[in-house]
Symmetry: C2
Subunit: 886 residues, 2 copies
C-alpha cells in the first residue's frame, strides 16, 4: 500500500474540483494558488487519510513521511523552519470537510511556537508584545483542542491579570503581562493536563493533525451530520498553512469582503476590515470594523490589489464571492474564497446583471436562485430598506409577516378572531391542545422551542408566520403580559412579527405586499423558455385564479368545490342536503345550491379563459359541514338544565342524533371523496350541472372554458366507472339543452395506494391522473397530517428518524415509488394520459424536480408558489436543484 496512495497535496498540486479529497477549504486554497493570488503557502492532508484514521485510530502507512517531505518543501520555499529559534515557521492547522460544517470542527493557530522559536518570532517581528500574545494564544488553543484542558481555566487567569493590572481590554496589557501569562498558562497545562506543554514543534503538528481527525467524530459534528444527512464516510481534510498576521501594527489588517452587495446584489464595494487585528477579533465584535471605502482610503495600494483579486475570483468562479484576507505589514494575503450567501433579491439582481455583463448565460443564471428563497419575496414582509424598532428577535420559523393584537390564551384567540379582530398568539410554547388558537391567529410567537417545535411545524404547515424561541421574552401568563428588556407588552397591544427574519416589532409596521419585480420577471421569463413542464395553480375562487394567472399559472390543477359548499347562504342548504330524510328533500336542497355554484364556476372559468381548469368534485367528509358533535352535546346538556326549554332540547337532541350518525372514527378514511358521490344520489349530478351550465354561459359570451372534471379518492376502477357514467350523462344533458360544444375530460386523483397500484386498470377510464400527494402521503405513511404535525412528527425530525417533513417534500422512496409505478402503468395503457400533481408538493422545488424526472405534464401549487414552481421546473431541466435538505 505504502507509496501507492498520495495523502498530502501542496496547494499548487490541487484545484477546485478536488473537493471530496481536499475538502472545500483546501480545494479553494489550491485554486486560488493556481490563479496566482497571494495565498500563504501550505499543504492539505486528504480526507482519505482522515478516513483511515477514523477506522484504525492511526495514520496510514507513509503519511508521516509524506508530511515530512511537504513540510521540508515548505520550509525550503520560505527559508524558515518549524521550531527554528532563528527564523521560525509558524503554521495554522485547520479542518476542511467536503461539505461545510461551520463551527463543528477544530483549528489550531500559531503552531510551531515554543520557548526557543518564540525568540525567533520576536527577532522576526521586532515586537515582543505581539510574540508573547501569539504564544499565549497558541498555548490556550492547543491545550483546549489537543490536550483537553478547558479554555475557561486560561480565561480566568487572563481576567485575573487584567484586574490585577486594573485594565479592561486585552490591548491594554503589556509584553511583560503576556510573558507572565505564558508562564501561568504553562503551569495550568501541567497541573490540569498532567504533563508539560509539548515543546517539540513536529510533535505539536502531529498532535494537532490527529486532533482535527478526531474532531470529525466528536458528538456535535456527528449530530450535525445526522441532522443534515451528511455521510459519516466523507471525512475531513486538514490544511497546514503558513501563518500570516493582521495584528503586526498599523499596516496590518484583517477583513472579509464580497464581490457584490449580498443584501441587494448591487455591484459595489462591500465588506469590512480591522487594522491591527486577527480574524477572531473581527468575529468577536469587540471593535467596530471599517468599511471597504475606508480601506480604499487608508490602504489604497493594498485595496487596489484586493479589488483586482476580487475581480479575478468573481470572473474565475463566475459567481459572487465571499472572501477573507489578511494584510501583514502592507502585504495582502487571500485566506479563503467561496460563493457568497445572498438574499433572494440580491440573488435575482446578481443573476440578471451577470447575464447582462456576459459573465454567465441564462441557464447558469437560473441555477443561481434557490427557489425556496423566492418564498421570502412572495409573502407579505417587512421592508428590508426601512428601520424598525425590533423589540426581540427569535428563530425565523415560518415566513411571512403579520400584524395583530397580542393574546395569550387560545380560547381568547378564537373568540376575538370570530369577532373580526386580528390577533397574534403568544405562548411559552404550543401543544396540540392549542391548535384552535393557532388556526384563529394571524401568526404565532413563542418564547421557547426551535425550528421544529410544535408551533413552528404547525404554522409552516398552515402557511402562517411564526417566530419561535424568542427567549429574551419573559411571559407572565397570570398577568397576561410579556416583558422584554424592560419593556412590558400587554394583552391587546398591537405587534408585528416577521417570520422570515424572526423580528418582533411593537405596533403596526407597514408591510410590503408580494410582487414580481423586474429581475424576478426576467428570471422567470428565462425559466419559461427552458422548462417543458407546465405550472398550474390550486385555486378555489375567481380571486385566487386571477392572482395565480398574474403569477404565471397556466391553468388550474385543483379547484376544490367544497369551498363552494361553505358560506352562510349555502351551509344551511348543504346541511339540508346531508340530513335529508327523503330523496325529495335532498333534491330540493341540491336544486337551491346549483345556481350558487354555477356563479362561482363562471368566475373561475372567466379568470382562466382559454386555460384548463380541473375541478375536483366534493371531497371532504360530510360532517365537516355539520355542527360540532361535542358542542351539540354540551348545548343539549345546557338546555336540560334550563327550565322551560323542553322543545328546544328535543330539537337539539334530534339534531345531535343525526350528526352522531354521520360521525366517524377516522374521517380521513371514511365517507368522503367519490364515496359520497356514489352513496348520495344527486350530489355529483348537481355539481356537474353547475359546471357545465357555467361553461355554456361563457361559451355563449364568446369565451373558451376548458373543463376537466376530477373524481376524488378513487381506489377501484368501478368507482370511477360509476361516477364517470353519471358525470357524462349530466354533462351531455346540459350540453344538449344549451346547444353548444364544450369539450371536457374526466379523470381522477391518484391519492390512495390502491389507485396507484391498480393504475393500469384505472387508466382505462381516466383521461388524466392528478397525484393528490397530501392524501397519498397520509395513507402511504399512515400519517394523519392533523395529528402527526402536532405530535410525533416534531419528535421524529428532532431524532433524525425522518430527514424532513414528508408533507412539505415528497417521500421519494415510498410515495414517490408509488407515483412512478402509477405513471408508468397508466401511460402504458393510455399513451396520452395527462399526468399532474396537485398536492402541496407541487410547490416544493425538490418535489418539482422529481415530478419532472418522472415525466409529469404539470405541477399545480398555491398561487404564491407559482413563480417558485416555474423556476424549479426550469432548474429540473438543468438537473441542478440543490438538495434543500442538505
Amino acid at each position: 500500500m505504502s507509496g501507492s496512495t498520495k495523502y498530502v497535496y501542496d496547494f499548487d498540486e490541487g484545484n477546485a474540483k478536488m473537493k471530496n479529497l481536499l475538502g472545500g477549504k483546501g480545494s479553494n486554497l489550491a485554486e486560488m494558488t493556481n490563479l496566482g493570488l497571494p495565498v500563504p503557502p501550505g499543504f492539505t492532508i486528504t480526507t482519505e487519510a482522515c478516513n483511515y484514521f477514523t477506522d484504525t485510530g492511526r495514520y496510514p502507512e507513509g503519511l508521516h513521511e509524506e508530511i515530512d517531505v511537504h513540510l521540508a518543501k515548505l520550509e525550503a520555499r520560505l527559508g524558515k523552519k518549524l521550531g527554528n529559534p532563528g527564523n521560525p515557521l509558524l503554521v495554522s492547522v485547520r479542518s476542511g470537510a467536503p461539505i461545510s460544517m461551520p463551527g463543528m470542527m477544530d483549528t489550531v493557530l500559531n503552531l510551531g511556537l515554543n520557548d526557543e522559536s518564540l525568540q525567533g518570532l520576536i527577532a522576526q517581528t521586532g515586537d515582543e508584545r505581539f510574540a508573547y500574545d501569539a504564544y499565549r494564544r497558541f498555548i490556550q488553543m492547543f491545550s483546549d483542542i489537543v490536550l483537553e484542558v478547558k479554555r475557561s481555566f486560561f480565561e480566568e487567569e487572563l481576567t485575573r491579570k487584567k484586574q490585577e493590572r486594573g485594565v479592561g481590554l486585552d490591548v491594554e496589557l503589556t509584553a511583560k503581562d503576556w510573558k507572565e501569562l505564558v508562564e501561568k498558562f504553562k503551569a495550568i497545562v501541567k497541573e490540569r493536563g498532567g504533563k508539560d506543554f509539548p515543546g517539540a514543534p513536529r510533535e505539536q503538528l502531529d498532535l494537532a493533525i490527529r486532533a482535527v481527525f478526531e474532531s470529525w467524530g466528536n458528538p456535535r459534528a456527528k449530530l450535525y451530520r445526522k441532522t443534515y444527512d451528511i455521510s459519516d464516510s466523507l471525512g475531513t481534510a486538514v490544511n497546514v498553512q503558513t501563518m500570516v498576521f493582521g495584528n503586526m501594527g498599523e499596516t496590518s489588517a484583517t477583513g472579509v469582503c464580497f464581490s457584490r452587495d449580498p443584501s441587494t446584489g448591487q455591484r459595489r464595494r462591500y465588506g469590512e476590515f480591522l487594522i491591527n487585528a486577527q480574524g477572531e477579533d473581527v468575529v468577536a465584535g469587540i471593535r467596530t470594523p471599517h468599511s471597504m471605502d475606508q480601506m480604499a482610503e487608508e490602504l489604497p495600494e493594498v485595496y487596489a490589489e484586493l479589488e483586482a483579486a476580487m475581480e479575478k475570483l468573481e470572473r474565475h468562479y463566475q459567481d459572487m464571492q465571499d472572501m477573507e484576507f489578511t494584510v501583514e505589514r502592507g502585504k495582502l494575503y487571500m485566506l479563503q474564497t467561496r460563493n457568497g450567501k445572498r438574499t433572494a433579491a440580491a440573488a435575482l439582481r446578481i443573476a440578471v446583471e451577470m447575464v447582462e455583463e456576459g459573465l454567465i448565460d441564462k441557464k447558469v443564471a437560473l441555477t443561481r436562485i434557490q427557489p425556496e428563497q423566492l418564498d421570502q419575496l412572495l409573502h407579505p414582509r417587512l421592508d428590508p430598506e426601512r428601520d424598525y424598532e425590533v423589540i426581540v428577535t427569535g428563530l425565523p420559523a415560518s415566513p411571512g409577516a403579520a400584524v395583530g393584537k397580542v393574546v395569550f390564551d387560545c380560547d381568547a384567540a378564537e373568540q376575538k378572531s370570530q369577532a373580526g379582530e386580528k390577533v397574534i398568539l403568544v405562548r411559552y410554547e404550543t401543544t396540540p391542545d392549542d391548535l384552535h388558537g393557532i388556526i384563529a391567529a394571524q401568526g404565532v410567537l413563542t418564547s421557547h422551542g426551535g425550528m421544529t417545535s410544535h408551533a413552528a411545524v404547525v404554522a409552516r404547515g398552515m402557511g402562517k408566520p411564526c417566530i419561535a424561541g424568542a427567549e429574551a421574552m419573559k411571559i407572565n401568563m397570570q398577568e397576561h403580559i410579556f416583558e422584554v428588556n424592560g419593556l412590558v407588552v400587554r394583552e391587546g397591544d398591537v405587534i408585528t412579527i416577521d417570520g422570515a427574519s424572526g423580528k418582533v416589532i411593537l405596533g403596526e409596521a407597514e408591510l410590503i405586499e408580494p410582487r414580481v419585480d423586474k429581475n424576478l420577471e426576467r428570471i422567470l421569463g428565462w425559466a419559461d423558455e427552458l422548462r417543458t413542464m407546465k405550472v398550474r395553480t390550486n385555486a378555489d375562487t375567481p380571486e385566487d385564479a386571477r392572482r395565480a394567472r398574474e403569477f404565471g399559472a397556466e391553468g388550474i390543477g385543483l379547484c376544490r368545490t367544497e369551498h363552494m359548499f361553505l358560506g352562510e347562504d349555502r351551509l344551511p342548504l348543504v346541511r339540508d342536503m346531508i340530513l335529508a330524510e327523503t330523496d325529495g328533500e335532498r333534491q330540493e336542497a341540491l336544486n337551491a345550491l346549483e345556481p350558487k355554484l354555477r356563479e362561482d364556476f363562471k368566475g373561475i372559468f372567466m379568470a382562466m379563459d382559454g386555460l384548463p381548469v380541473t375541478i375536483r368534485l366534493l371531497d371532504p367528509p360530510l360532517h365537516e359541514f355539520l355542527p360540532n358533535l361535542m358542542d351539540l352535546r354540551v348545548e343539549m346538556e345546557e338546555l336540560k338544565h334550563t327550565p322551560g326549554e323542553r322543545a328546544d332540547f328535543e330539537e337539539k337532541e334530534k339534531l345531535y342524533h343525526k350528526v352522531r350518525a354521520e360521525h366517524e372514527v377516522n374521517p380521513m378514511l371514511g365517507m368522503r371523496g367519490c364515496r359520497v358521490g356514489i352513496s348520495i344520489p344527486g350530489v355529483t349530478r348537481m355539481q356537474v350541472q353547475a359546471i357545465m351550465e357555467a361553461a355554456c354561459d361563457l361559451r355563449h359570451e364568446g369565451l373558451d372554458p376548458h373543463v376537466e372534471i376530477m373524481v376524488p379518492l378513487v381506489g377501484f376502477l368501478k368507482e370511477l366507472q360509476a361516477e364517470k357514467e353519471e358525470i357524462i350523462a349530466a354533462a351531455e344533458k346540459v350540453i344538449g339543452e344549451r346547444c353548444v360544444t364544450i369539450p371536457f375530460t374526466v379523470g381522477t386523483m391518484i391519492e390512495l395506494p390502491r389507485a396507484a397500484l391498480t393504475a393500469a386498470e384505472i387508466a382505462t377510464e381516466a383521461q388524466f391522473f392528478s397525484f393528490g400527494t397530501n392524501d397519498l402521503t397520509q395513507t402511504t405513511l399512515g400519517f394523519s397530517r392533523d395529528d402527526a404535525e402536532g405530535k410525533f412528527l416534531p419528535i421524529y425530525l428532532s431524532k433524525g428518524i425522518l430527514p424532513y417533513n414528508p408533507f412539505a417534500t415528497l417521500d421519494f422512496d415510498g410515495v414517490g415509488k408509488l407515483m412512478k409505478m402509477a405513471a408508468a402503468a397508466g401511460r402504458e395503457v393510455r399513451h396520452d394520459l395527462k399526468l399532474g400533481i396537485c398536492g402541496e408538493h407541487g410547490g416544493d422545488p425538490q418535489s418539482v424536480r422529481f415530478c419532472y424526472e418522472m415525466g409529469l405534464d404539470y405541477v399545480s401549487c398555491s398561487p404564491f408558489r407559482v413563480p417558485l414552481a416555474r423556476l424549479a421546473a426550469a432548474q429540473a431541466v438543468l438537473g441542478k436543484v440543490e438538495d434543500a435538505t442538505k
Copy 2:
C-alpha cells in the same frame, strides 16, 4: 364459416368435460348417456351458438339446418315425429349454463303439442285427461316465456274453473274441464298476445330456443352474474330432450334422490318421490312426497334399477350425487345428476368414508370440504339433531348461536351488558348510530335488511351471531315488543338465535360447544401431512393460547400486549403512564405495570411451550386507554350545574384538558404503534423486560419459550432501528442478570404501504415480517374499517363496486400486490426472512391460498379458525380452493 363450427351435439356425442360448450346440464346428460343409463334422448345446442345469437340477434349460419338434422335423427331413433298426429314427439327445451344459475333462466316443457298432435298423445297414452292437462301446461308455459303473455292470466282462468266446478285441487278437474281450459287459454293468447298460439311444432321449437338464448340477457340473470362475478361471455347451452311423464298413472312417478344422506353423510337411502306426478309438483309441495324406503316397497324393480344407477353414478363421479328421475309407466329415466350439496358434518363423514371405501384418496378427500363450512362447526350452535320451537326464521347473516334477553334500544343494551346481563339486540334494521348496541349485545336480530345490511356486515366483522331480515317479525318500538304469528315477545324475554341457520327460538336453547370430532380430526390429520405452510394463532391470553393449541395451532403469530394494559388493576397505572408530567412519574407507573405483564407472558409461554410466540409491542392510540372525551365534557357540564362541586369541577376540567391534548382527528393514522415506543421513554423497555423476565422464569423451570418481538406500524427503517436498539438492550440486560440463554428475534409488522414499498431496506434490520393485513387494507384502500363497514361498504357491495368485503378476503390486486412486492424484496435482502400474516385474512381460505402461493411461512388466525386454516393450507397445496366469492 358455415359447416366449420359444430353447434349441435347429440347426448352421446358429449361428455362431462365439455361443460363450457354444452353447459352443466348438457354435459352431465351426455355423461350419463355414455354410462349407459336410461336418459331420455336429445341433443344440446352449444353456448357458442348462444353467444353468436347474443351478439347478432340471430342464429349462426347453419344452426337451423343442424337442428333439423339432429331432430330428424332423434325422430328416427324413437319412431316418433314432432307434431305428428299419429305418434307425436314431445320435447322439453331447457337452458343449461356452464355455471349453475338456479331459477335464472327459462324452460319449456311438452313442446310439440298442437290440436293435431294432441290426438296422437291421447292415442299413445290412452289418457285424455293427461293429454289435455299436458297441452294446457305447454300453452301456459310457452306463452309466458316465449310470447310474453303473463302466467297470471292463465292462473286466474284455472282458479275460475275450479270455483265453477266447486273443487279445490287441480287433480279433481276432469278431461272435459282441461279441454275447455285449453280453448280458454288459446283465447287468452290471442287476446293478450295479439295473434294465434303458434301451431307449427318446428316454429315452436325455434321460438323456444330463441327465448332461452334471450333469457341469458334478461335483467335478473345479468344481475345474478354481476353479483356472483360470472362472465357475460359464457353464454348458455340449450337442451332439447324427449319428454317423459311421471304423471301417467300409478306406475309413473317422479323424484329426487341422493347417494348418501346430505345432512349426516351416512350411507343410506335418502330422497323422496311422488307417484303420478311431474317434477314441478314435487317442488310445489302440494302433496307430501314419500321416502326412498317406500319406493323400494312400492316400486321394487324400478327402485333396484335406480339404486344401481345411483351406485354407478357415485362410483363414476367419485362423489355423492344428487339426482332427478322420472318413472314413466314402470320405466326409469334419469334426468339429472350433480354433486350433492351437504352440511359440514356430512361433508366430513362422506370424505372420510369414501377414503375408507377406497373410492377416493386422501388428497381428493381434502378438496371435498369447503373450509368455510367448518365455521359452522366451530361456533356454538344449535344441535341439528334436536327439535326446537322456531318462532321465526330470517337470513343466516353471521354464524354462531347466542342466548340473551331481548332489548330494542342500544343504550339499554349497553347498560344491561355493563350490568352483566346477556342481551340480544332486536331492531327494525341497524345504522352506524347503533354500533355501541351491537358491541354490547351477544347477537343481533333484525326484521329487515339482507345479507349485506349494516347489521349483517358489522356483526360478521365482529364475529357475532346475526339474523337479518326476519320479516315475519313485527316490531313495536313504542311498546317494546315484537309479534310473530300472534306470539308476543317482550323486552327482557329470553330468546336464542342461530346465525348459521337463521332460526329464532323462544327461551334458552342448549347450545353445542364447538369441538373437533373424529371425522374432522382425520381430515385435519391428512391436511397436516400435506401442507407446508404453518398455522399459528392470534392469542392474547393463556386461555386463548391453550384452546388454539388444542385446535392445532403451531405457535402464536400475534400476541397483542394492549390486552394486558386493560383490566381494573392496570388501567389506572396506564393512565398515570400516559398523563405523567415527569419522567419520574411515568417510570413509577411503568415499574408497577411490569410484574403484571410478566405474569401474563408466563401463562402464554407456558401454553405455547416449545412453539414460537410473536409478541407485538403496544400498538393502539393511547387515548383508547383514557376516559371518553365527550363523556368528560358532559360530566364537566353537569358538575357546573351542581352547586358546591367547584373542586370536583376543576379536577374534571384538568383531566378533560389532558385527555383533549391526546385526542386525535384520525387515531388510526396517529400516535400509535412504534410511534408510541419511540416518543414515550420507557414503554418499550418495560414490555421487553416483562417478556424476558417471564421467559427466564420459565427457562429456570425447564420450559422452552421461543420469543419473537414484533415492532408495530413501522414505515421507516430508522423507526425499526431505534426500537430494535432499545429492545436488544433491554433484553440483554435481563438475560445477563438472569444468567440463562433465551434466543429471541426482532421483526416487524408490514402494515403500512410504505413498509411494503421499502421492504428491502426494512429487511436489513427485521428478522421476520408479519403482514398486518387489517391495517394494510385500511391504509392501502383508504378505508377506516370502523367507518366503512357500517357506512359505505354495504352500499359498495350491493352496487357491485366491490365483489366482497376486503376485510374478510384479501384485496388481491391492491393489498396483495403490495404483499408480494414486500415479500420478494425482503427475501432478496435476507434469504431466511420469516414471513407470516396475522391479519384476520389469515383465517380466510382464499386468502390462505394466496399466502401459500406467495410463499409465506405461516398464517395466523383466531383460535376457532385454526382448523379451517389447516385445511385451507392443505387445499392450497392442491391448488383447489373453490373461489368462495363465486
